[in-house]
Structures are given as C-alpha cells and as structure tokens.
Amino acid sequence: MFNALRAAIDEEMERDPTVFVLGEDVGHYGGSYKVTKDLYKKYGELRLLDTPIAENSFTGMAIGAAMTGLRPIVEGMNMGFLLLAFNQIANNAGMLRYTSGGNFKIPIVIRGPGGVGRQLGAEHSQRLEAYFQAVPGLKIVACSTPYNAKGLLKSAIRDPNPVLFFEHVLLYNLKEDLPEEEYLLPLNKAEIVRSGEDVTILTYSRMRHHVLQAVKTLEKEGYDPEVIDLISLKPLDFETIGASIRKTHRVLIVEECMKTGGIGAELSASIMERYFDELDAPVIRLSSQDIPTPYNGTLENLTIVQPPQIVAAVQKLVQGQV
C-alpha cells in the first residue's frame, strides 16, 4: 500500500506544480513508511520539504501556503503527533474558511499512519479521527486497501478543502495489483465490500480486514452479512448506509477507535435518528476499550476488536438475541 500512496503523490506532483509534501523525514529519509521514498530526487528538496520537529508550526505553515494558492500535503510521521498541531488543524484548517466568510480556500491534505500497531505503546497507537470529527470544515477519510488508498489520496489532493487522510500503520505492506490507467475515487462514498441480506456491518480502515476474516467463518455458518467500508468518516455516506439498513434492518459497527465519543458513537446516534423505524434490533458497537493502548501484546489484543467477537455479535444479532 505504501507504493500505492507513493504513486498517488508522484502522479499528482507531476500533474500540478503547486503540490508539495512537508513533514518530518519526508525528503531524504523517504518517510517513515516509505510513502515518499526517493521522490525528493525527482522533485527537489523544496517539494519534499523536510521540516524541523515542530508539528503545530509546520502544519500552520502549510495552511498559510494553502491559503495563498499552493496544495500542501502534510505528513504526520505518526498521526498521533498531530495532537501537537490540533490548534492549527481545528482553528485554521477547519474553521478559517467559514470564519473568513469564504475569503480563503484551504486545499490541504494531512495524512499519515494512525491506528493501533504492534506494541507501539499508547502514544503511537491513537485514533485521532474520533478527536477530529467534531471540528467543522474538515473532511475525514480512511483508506484500507492499496486500490482505494491511491484513488482516494489523488482525490484528496485535488479537493479544494482540508482533508484528514488516515492510513493504518499495519496496512502499509498490503499488496494488490493496481490498474495501469489513472483512476480517482470519490471522497464521500462508502464502499460496499460484500453485499448481503442479514446484517449491515459498518467498518473502516484495518477493521475492514478483521471483519472480512470474521465473514469467512460466518459464510461457512450460512450467514449473509453486508460489509460496508465507510471510507468517508466525515461526512458519513448515509445514502449507502441507509440503503443497506433498509435491506438488512440490523447494524453492527466495528471500529478501532475508542467507544466513548468515537466514530461509532456518532454513527449509532445518527442511525437511530434517521432509521429507527427500519431497525429490528438495537445498533451494536464493537469498539476498542476506553483505555490507553497497553504495550503488552496480550493486553493490546484485548484492547481492540478481534474477529471472533465480530462472529459472535453477528450470530446474536441475526438470531434475534439482542
């Protein structure tokens, strides 16, 4: 997947000279996850700008550059580090266009690895999408496969608005053959990963893969779940979500962010408001535990949702046991 992301950036930089990347170790080092590997050799050090470790300031600098006509891509070496840039992302990327009465556009992509990795400890295992979803003016996207990563990132770079683009630290090595020809994917559309009749499973990022593992078991047991990868975490694609609920009447949300104030919390509340009469059972959320992610591998696995929990939740939902 890192190659797909790299190809997206390369193609967009080739196409548009105002596109540039900045962040920690994005130039000479090529990015911690190789997403910008060797691009500085092709585009120079100013377009693959290695910054000092000053997240709030280089993010603000990118916003100023975007306001004046460039299209910066900010790499958070780890998305968690961008907590240090929260002010610039919330006040200026998110709100400034509105506050300025439309005076300025802020075409900026803020991307990097999020999610729980393998024993990286609490600070490197954060899911900022939940923290940022309340900020008005931001689009939030989570990619999950090499194919969608490339198409979505290209669209994010061309979007005239700030896009927070979440990659997952454990998905960079996914492999997939990509189309030769150029393609773009819409930022605001969920992806129906598997059509089914029994239950709607809403998920995103790495949990899509946990869900698909669970689906293998469920299929053998005769269940027919519909799996939807949200892709757009803000705004949520209720057209796709609603159509699925009207078909299955049952919803399971599987997410990696914490349960309290998470993406699933927002999703669950919105589904209740919009589709209450369609539901045959309460909306179920499987989320990470509300704790700092522990270092110990066993405890870490207990913190995030595992495929057997998904299987059990679907069985209960479909059998009417909830």
Partner: protein, 342 residues
C-alpha cells in the same frame, strides 16, 4: 513604576519623506485612531458585540510597516486587527460592517472583530489565539519563495508582514517559525508590537529576556529594535527589512516598543497599569509626533492636518452609516462557506 526601557532613537534625514508620503502616513494613522474611537462608541451603544480589542496608541507600527509595503504583499494580524486591516487597504465600510456582524462585512459577518479577512487585500487574518497567525504568515512567505524557486515565477517577490504582541513572543510557534523562516530564508517581517502588557501580565514578569529583538540573533536573523511611537522610525526599519526580504536575504525580527492607550479589550477594567506609566506613553502619541514633525519641517500646515482629520471623520461616519444600513446575513445562508466547491 517599572523603569522604562530606553527608546532607540533614529535620526531621520529630512529627505526621506516627501509631503505626499508624510500626509499619507498621517492620514492612515488618523484613520486608525478615529475608526477605533468610533468602535468604542459603537460598542458602548450596543452596535457591536463580543470582544473588541482596540489598537489606539500603536498606529505608528501598522502604518509604518504596512504603508512601506506593496498592495500585493501579505499582512497577517492578531485579534487586535482593525487597524492592520485598514492600513492594508480594506475599506473602512467593510471593517465596520464586519464589526456590526453584517453581510457586507469583509468576513460576511461570520468572523467579527478578531477575524477580519480579505483575500483581495492579501489580509490573511484576524487570528484570535495568541501566536497562531505566525505559522500561517510563515506559510504565505514560504509560498512566495516556492513560486519563485520551484515554479520559476520571477514576479513572485511578495513580502509578508506578520504582526503579534509581546505575549506571543513566549509561545512555541514564535520560536518554531523564526527557526524555519531563517532556515529557508523566507521573505517575512516578524513585527512584535511590544506594548508591555499581555492583558494583565507585565512583559517583564513573563519573559526571561525582555528585549525580544535579541532573540533573532540565535536564529542568525537580523533583529531590530525601534521606537514604535515614531512612524518614520518604524518605516525606515521596515523599508530595510522589506528590501532584504524582497532580495531573498531572509527574514527580520522587528521589535516595536509601543503602548496601547486603552485596556486590553473594551471589557478590560485596566486596573494593573499605573497612571504614571500611562501618562509617560500618552505624551508620546505617534499621531501628534508626526503632525508636529510635518509642520516643523514645513511639509504640511496645521490646516492640512485638520483637513485630513475632517476627511477621515467623514470616511468613518460613512462607514458607520453603511454598517447600520447593511443587511444581516440571511438565515438560509448559515451553512455557506464551510466547504469550497472548487
């Protein structure tokens, strides 16, 4: 009373300004002053709301820097932004209408006093959190350098002036951006308006090194101290810094020693600053200083100055009438401007 820092003096050769320039500077400062006096009146009469921070006393800094720049240069301000906006060319009507919350305001009534913006006048804001404008201004300067060096645009020689106060000079964004601006030789002026007080926090109680301009040196940057009550001194320092920036020689940190004649905001009881201190600075009113200089140098007569004041009064009265008559933003447009369509 704290011992006042000795003010740097700069002898201005008389030939440095013409009559036209002198009158232009005078008019801009008077516009700032009369506009703000009117703001105070309108605030107390319930025409404007929220927090309103006036700039009265500091006009020489805005005028001295911005009027030495070109219209296509960039200006970045703080929450005390009305006068920077006026100096940058945003019409008084649009600023006043914004303060009234009207649809005709420069931010369409969405921003208010602390969030003035004008893309047309290259005014980047209007930033209400202390120091958060500094990275944005640094980004505008980066953009200019990028266009020139990466995109080969020879016309990209705009300079950015980034204004902030002594309080902001203790924030990380100040140090981080000084570092980056020096590192990449960005065309930017960091203009610290040291008015001695961050609301109720005296500068010497907040800063281990109170002479802010000295902080430039550790970044290998030029640091200048200037009498912020003397518009010609500010202009002279600004002109040199702008020339350096335009020539690709990098940023300058300018510390203008100044004073706000009013409280932090119109809601501030202003109880901590001593009477002696206020009197010391009131005697150094930058508008009176320039007026006296122009008359003394026979660049203008007292009648010329009165005529300017009358002209500006008419502009400000017109701005108020415009703001009063302007429509409120439409309720159905509540969601406009969240996202750009392209």
């Amino acid at each position: 009373m704290v011992q006042e820092r000795s003010l740097p003096s700069l002898s201005i050769p008389q030939t440095t300004i013409t009559r036209e320039q002198g009158l232009m500077l005078y008019e801009d400062m008077v516009l700032g002053r009369i506009f703000e006096d009117k703001c105070a009146e309108m605030y107390y009469r319930g025409r404007m709301f929220g927090f309103v921070h006036l700039y009265t006393g500091q006009e020489a800094v805005s005028t001295g820097v911005i009027k030495a720049m070109r219209p296509d240069d960039y200006v970045c301000s703080t929450y005390r932004d009305h006068v920077h906006a006026l100096s940058a060319g945003v019409p008084a009507r649009e600023v006043m209408a914004e303060l009234f919350g009207k649809a005709t305001g420069c931010s369409k009534g969405r921003g208010g006093s602390m969030h003035l913006f004008s893309a047309k006048h290259h005014l980047l804001g209007g930033f209400a959190f202390v120091a958060e404008g500094i990275p944005v201004a640094t980004g505008a300067a980066f953009q200019t350098m990028y266009r020139r060096q990466v995109m080969g645009d020879a016309k990209a020689d705009q300079v950015t002036a980034c204004f902030f106060g002594d309080g902001a000079s203790n924030n990380g964004q100040f140090f981080e951006c000084l570092n980056m601006a020096a590192l990449w030789k960005l065309p930017i002026l960091f203009v610290v308006e040291n008015n001695k007080w961050a609301i109720g926090m005296a500068h010497e109680r907040a800063s281990s090194e109170t002479e802010i301009y000295k902080k430039a040196k550790v970044f290998g940057m030029v640091g200048e101290e200037v009498d912020g009550m003397d518009v010609l001194a500010v202009r002279t320092v600004a002109e040199a810094a702008i020339a350096r920036a335009r020539a690709g020689e990098g940023p300058t940190l300018i510390e203008a020693l100044t004073y706000r004649f009013r409280g932090h905001s119109l809601a501030d009881p202003d109880e901590l600053r001593s009477k002696e201190e206020k009197e010391f600075w009131l005697k150094r009113d930058p508008i009176k200083k320039l007026g006296a200089y122009l008359v003394e140098q026979e660049l203008a007569t007292n009648e010329d100055l009165r005529a300017i004041e009358q002209k500006v009064q008419a502009i400000v009265d017109d701005a108020v009438a415009f703001a009063e008559e302007s429509p409120e933003p439409k309720p159905e447009e509540l969601y406009d401007y969240i996202f750009a369509e392209e």
